[in-house]
Symmetry: C2
Subunit: 144 residues, 2 copies
DNA sequence: TATTGTTATACTCTATAACTATA
DNA sequence: TATAGTTATAGAGTATAACAATA
């Protein structure tokens, strides 16, 4: 058997770019339906994994630390997160998702209809394959 | 054989979020190294596929049409794109990549080291599988 | 000395609404 | 009437540089 035709890097990057655009568009619409910007929604999504210091949050969102102040300010004003002083290091402030914030974060994911619908097209084996391939490509630290 | 354990939707969405976040971070850093914002880099990437009207560009980038004016203004000022009057409809302006713009767009993709390195870990069959899965999930119109 | 979070600043992105020139 | 592109405007994101508090 000849198998599937070879997919060169340029084509794969193009497909990744288009896929990301579709995912990000879906996410942005879902966040907007909760009256949140994409950055605010992204911050909530990250915080679903647990509390994080301002600095760590900025690193995860790949933006400068100074940006987090305004983003967290707006989320805090809406009662979606709160700042907590770190017991171990008085310079550090941990950002924690409130119950309302958790509810909104769940709502965003639930509203990502295009992505959910796309994933529904895959059977169990395909879902497992996609999961593993993504982990290999993006979430494995470089051998170095 | 029991096969791979089942990957539920929540877990797959989480991995997608992290993976595409990594891709987007890689892209943003690459664009910044060419002194471009992510939106400007995205516009160049889209234009690599061919000229596009302002409106079509806005639709592809999922932003309001009014935003394109400023983005294209800045790209044009740097000589990376140019506006061309459409011969068929005098209201329409087609945005075209200049040679310099094409060079810069290629440069961005070449500098996405993390993504390229990640893709290098896959063999031909795995690359083909990833490509097909992404197309199925994100680039196939909903059955409706 | 180095680090955390904040502030001040300047520029860019973003949506909404109103305008113009075409169709 | 409807559509393409632009302008004006206001709010939000973004990086840089400088600062106070703490390590």
């Amino acid at each position: 058997m000849t198998g599937t035709p070879r997919v060169d890097t340029a084509r794969l990057m193009e497909t990744l770019s288009l896929s990301l655009g579709a995912y990000y568009g879906d996410f942005t619409v879902a966040a907007a339906s909760e009256n949140l910007t994409a950055s605010q929604g992204k911050a909530l999504t990250v915080l679903r994994r647990g509390p994080a210091a301002m600095r760590a949050l900025a690193t995860t969102l790949t933006c400068d630390a100074s940006n987090m102040t305004g983003i967290v300010d707006r989320l805090e004003k809406r009662g979606l997160v709160r700042r907590e002083a770190s017991p171990s290091d008085r310079r550090v402030k941990n950002v924690v998702l409130t119950d309302e914030g958790e509810r909104v974060a769940d709502g965003i994911r639930a509203k990502m209809r295009l992505t959910q619908g796309g994933l529904d097209r895959l059977d169990d084996a395909e879902r497992a394959a996609l999961h593993e391939l993504l982990e290999r490509v993006f979430l494995t630290p470089p051998a170095d």
